[in-house]
């Protein structure tokens, strides 16, 4: 399955088909008629036929749809909300987080903890930043609220590990310095939408 199919969110343009279901009968006689009709048409066996046909096709036609997961992976949606990532500034390589604490404040499952201090230049510096992934529900509020696009949701969904503390530290989530060139901007939560320009209306100044 290609990424385009994921990105197509225009509901209604897909090839959907309306089922011509008859209304549920209200009277007892109507119900009996429906039962009799279904019994005569052997509707139950249609289901059996379909599954048997699929089995024959799968066995002898090779129409298997299994994705052998650890060996091959499907692309995930760009808006997928998995383990968080902390982004860096592209120019200087410094992390974007300004320690405002909005993400800590808005977190509805109360799983973000951050601690800040002033460094020698009297700039705010993040001294400690952890996310408790045992509690995180991946709602995306932190990414949505972040003014600097510093915290986003990444696509790393394979999060089995020996310890709960894995992935949870600031350094683990931060883009490594040597991979700075590959840092992708996040088009999902918190990012301005592609049609943002059209959505902006001029503030009426003349009252």
């Amino acid at each position: 399955m290609s990424l385009e199919q994921f990105k197509n969110r225009n509901v209604g343009t897909q090839n959907y088909r309306m089922l011509d279901l008859e209304p549920t009968p209200e009277t007892g006689w109507g119900r009996f008629k429906r039962v009799a009709k279904r019994a005569v048409k052997l509707e139950l066996f249609t289901g059996l036929k379909v599954t048997f046909r699929e089995m024959i096709k799968a066995l002898f036609g090779g129409e298997m749809h299994t994705v052998k997961y650890p060996f091959e992976k499907l692309p995930i949606s760009p808006r997928y909300r998995a383990i968080h990532e902390m982004k860096r500034l592209l120019e200087s390589g410094h992390y974007r987080c300004i320690g405002c604490g909005l993400c800590e404040k808005i977190c509805i499952s109360d799983c973000i903890r951050m601690d800040t201090r002033y460094d020698e230049n009297q700039r705010k510096e993040v001294s400690e930043y952890t996310i408790n992934f045992g509690r995180c529900i991946f709602c995306g509020y932190c990414a949505e609220v972040c003014p600097e696009l510093a915290i986003v949701h990444g696509g790393r969904y394979e999060t089995a590990s020996e310890q709960r503390a894995s992935y949870a530290l600031f350094e683990d989530m931060l883009t490594p310095l040597d991979k700075l060139a590959e840092q992708k901007e996040y088009p999902g939560f918190g990012w301005i939408s592609p049609d943002a320009d059209e959505k902006i209306k001029k503030t009426p100044l003349a009252y």
Binding site: L44, G47, L48, V50, T51, F52, E54, M55, K57, A58, L59, E63, M64, H65, T66, K68
Partner: protein
């Protein structure tokens, strides 16, 4: 006398071993068939074609931590799975598996206890099997378990009536309760099969059999979407495995009953010898259960009761009455 006892013990042990192995193998078959019907591959990576998956499952079940919830009734919680497994195997004792054969000069009758009320004994033992899920659900301190136990009680109690009534008409025709007599009655080829005389009873028995073995259109006891796992919510490891073995053994028993009563039993079938014929028939019923599981959705509890008491039971009573009238005149 001593030889008889030793022979019986050997037969019992053999049946216990073979059927529990088959029950384990049944889980593999079920996964594979369901996978193919959903265009999947099923277990593939343990052994050739995933055949050793059941060994892996067995190792997992045996080594898994076996815990008992703190609020549960320990003793009842521990014996409930054994009831399920034990009643399932005891029910098999009165079922003739294969035709007589001679091995090392000894004629072997592959039935543990040939009692003259065989079919009623099998049904009665399967009726007693309802205590496994029932007690399991009531002993664990869990609401889902209690709901599962309540569903066990209503489902098994109701469908026992249909099983009994539907099998009554063939009993009237054959005039015996022994499964071997059933088999001998249909010894004259396909035309003699009881399914041609009792098609309605066959269908009713099959539906009730699905309900009694807790198979899919009627798998209300442990339906994940409604009651987490029903009576088996708190069970893990080998105790849960015993429930599983009991369920699959019951499936095999129902398959044997349906083949013996309606489909000509272990009489030789054309060029096929009887032993292979009955294995084919039982395999077909086993496959039918998986096939139905892959195809049909399951029903609501009120629909289950409606089906039992307002459709199947009147049909069964009418069937018995008609059979009696036809036999009288």
């Amino acid at each position: 006398m001593d030889g008889y006892i030793i022979g019986t013990i050997i037969k019992a042990v053999l049946i216990l071993a073979i059927i529990s192995a088959l029950a384990g193998f049944g889980t593999y078959i079920e996964r594979k068939v369901l996978a193919f019907m959903q265009r999947r591959l099923g277990p593939m990576h343990v052994g050739p074609y995933g055949l050793l998956q059941l060994v892996a499952d067995g190792i997992k079940l045996f080594t898994k931590e076996d815990f008992i919830p703190s609020g549960a009734n320990r003793l009842i919680f521990m014996i409930a799975p054994m009831i399920t497994a034990a009643t399932a195997f005891i029910a098999l004792a009165a079922v003739p598996m294969l035709p007589e054969f001679t091995l090392f000069g000894v004629t072997v009758r592959p039935i543990v206890a040939d009692i003259n009320i065989g079919i009623l004994f099998v049904l009665g033992m399967m009726a007693a099997g309802l205590y496994g899920p029932l007690l399991a659900g009531m002993a664990q301190d869990n609401k889902w378990g209690l709901l599962g136990a309540a569903r066990t009680a209503i489902q098994f109690l109701s469908y026992e009536v249909v099983t009994g009534l539907s099998i009554l008409a063939p009993i009237m025709i054959v005039g015996s309760l022994s499964l071997i007599d059933f088999n001998n009655y249909q010894s004259g080829g396909i035309g003699d099969w009881l399914i041609w005389k009792q098609p309605l009873a066959f269908i009713l028995f099959l539906i009730a059999g699905f309900a009694e073995t807790n198979r899919t259109p009627f798998d209300l006891l442990e339906h994940e979407a409604e009651v987490v796992s029903g009576y088996a919510t708190e069970y893990s490891g080998m105790r849960w495995g015993m429930f599983f073995i009991g369920e699959y053994t019951n499936m095999i028993t129902i398959g044997f009953l349906a083949s013996l009563v309606f489909l000509g039993g272990f009489n030789s079938w054309g060029f096929l010898p009887g032993g292979i014929a009955i294995i084919l028939k039982v395999s077909f019923f086993f496959f039918l259960m998986l096939w139905v599981r892959a195809s049909w959705p399951h029903i609501r509890p009120d629909q289950l009761m409606w089906l039992c008491w307002k459709v199947l039971m009147p049909l069964a009573v009418i069937n018995v009455t008609l059979t009696g009238l036809v036999m009288m005149f």
